[in-house]
Amino acid sequence: MPVNPDLVGRTYPPAETYSVGREAIRDFARAVQAGHPAHHDVEAARALGHADLVAPPTFAIVVAQRADAALVADPEAGIDFSRVVHVDQRFTHHRPVVAGDELVAELHVDQVRAVGSGAMVTSRAEISTVAGEKVATTVSSLLVRGEDQ
């Protein structure tokens, strides 16, 4: 199997803080063709009761994938990124991500299992504010294809 099975249970602590900016929300919203005014217009977001611009439901992937980078870069993990296929993804929002949030992500490796000559790696990012408020949990499964897959 092209991934170290001993990774299960491993945790990667938060690296740098991700500061959620208004323009990052607007850019991400344009990229996913999200026209809802709460992504673009601060007054529209506030009218819905949010503190500032609201990020689209999948924006947390930006923070989660930065956390995943620690796993992929870990030489002990043995993951060849060019052979990675995204198999599934889940977002659970404890509250919406809004502009002005200062976020950190702790990455947990929940499962590693052999799939043919490859391996399926399931990781979970627990995203919270620097003050410790839970914001989102993301779970991703990545298939690392074996040489003949």
Partner: protein, 161 residues
């Protein structure tokens, strides 16, 4: 703006709408930049073929992120989507197309219907069906190519005020 949703009127099986989302190579580059996911399978044909893909493919997260907009616009508040998950089953192939302006190479078709109602939590689960034409063969015509399910078990849980 859509009319306010009345929770008590929502039932399993109700359709929430349909949307067509065009994708060009430029859209993939835009998503790469906005998300920080610069994997060359999403913008470099030669690289994509070297790892046994038929052509450049869209980020699964672009498809997932674009598909949920049907739900966001129906709910009227992006913050109402409390949970969203999917499996990525088939790649969305995005062949090169260019003219005097950027032209779309393909299009996603998204339909949504209510899959479950939770009266205690005041949430509904919206099930999304997301398809794209099979453009894995060179020169395939998006208008006539078979539609593939590109997301499976795409489910968004929406809290209704």
């Amino acid at each position: 703006m859509t009319a306010a949703i009345v929770f008590e009127e929502l039932e399993k099986g109700q359709r929430i709408g349909e949307r067509r989302i065009e994708l060009s190579r430029a859209d993939l580059v835009r998503y790469a930049g906005a998300s920080g996911d610069l994997n060359p399978i999403h913008w470099n044909e030669e690289f994509a073929r070297s790892v046994d893909l038929p052509d450049v493919i869209a980020h699964g997260m672009l498809t997932m992120g674009a598909a949920v907009q049907l739900v966001v616009d129906w709910a009227g508040d992006p913050g109402a989507v409390v949970d969203y998950q999917t499996r990525f089953t088939k790649p969305v192939v995005v062949p090169n197309r260019f003219g005097t302006e950027v032209e779309p190479s393909t299009a996603l078709t998204v339909t949504g219907s209510i899959g479950a109602v939770d009266a205690d939590a005041r949430t509904v689960r919206v099930d999304l069906a997301v398809t794209a034409p099979d453009l894995s063969a060179p020169g395939a015509d998006p208008a006539t190519a078979a539609q593939l399910k590109v997301l499976v078990k795409a489910q968004a849980v929406v809290r209704i005020a």
